[in-house]
Subunit: 126 residues, 2 copies
């Protein structure tokens, strides 16, 4: 992997993302960044998010029927998605043990990890 420069833009993008507790789309993130730093280009936001995800510093997520979203951490954890406001929340919950091995032994797949997404309605939207 080529060494990445820690540019001001990269730092701002990463810091801004980390301040979210939900998981913003590029567009949402860019809008926030643009308010305080109007010279930062959208292409730079896209480029840095892609690089940061490639380096494992942040995580790119996928949600059905929606654009890409980013999570400001690479620590494994589960997520809750509110189907009303479309926000995604981190969950502090113990990892479900043993299921990776279950799949490995039943199917012979090599399992690196698993992700769990809970879907429902958050308190604000009920």
């Amino acid at each position: 992997m080529s060494l990445k420069r820690n540019t001001i833009q990269r730092q701002i993008i990463l810091d801004t993302l980390k301040r979210f507790n939900t998981h913003p789309s590029v567009d949402v993130l860019y809008t926030v960044i643009h308010k305080s730093h109007p010279t930062i280009s959208k292409a730079t936001v896209y480029r840095n998010l892609r690089q940061l995800a490639g380096e494992g510093i942040i995580t790119q997520m996928a949600v059905s029927d929606d654009v890409a979203r980013y999570d400001g951490t690479s620590e494994p954890h589960y997520h809750f998605s509110c189907k009303v406001c479309n926000k995604i929340f981190d969950l502090d919950m113990d990892c479900v043990e043993g299921i990776d091995d279950q799949i490995r032994s039943k199917y012979g797949y090599k399992v690196d990890k698993h992700e769990i997404l809970f879907v429902g309605t958050c308190q604000d939207c009920e």
Copy 2:
């Protein structure tokens, strides 16, 4: 919900999708359909897949860094994603019990369901 006509095109699209054990993108599905039925338009494939998913007959999936994929069933089940060939396989595995309630009581979210995606390497790609 408005009543949908069971057109020939809709039937072909659904039947073709159900024959996949992996979970094809629209493009892959369209290519297969186009071979036997060259007059079916790509717009019709997109439109019907969206409708069928809206009716709960099939399921739209989301995979990081990739286009939308469709699952020919609406029965809840877990998935395995091979990071090499990018195929997605259905898993026949008992539902993990109790975790929805765990989230409900800890966070107060109303939980409808959860999805689990295992990530790793399938046997063909090892």
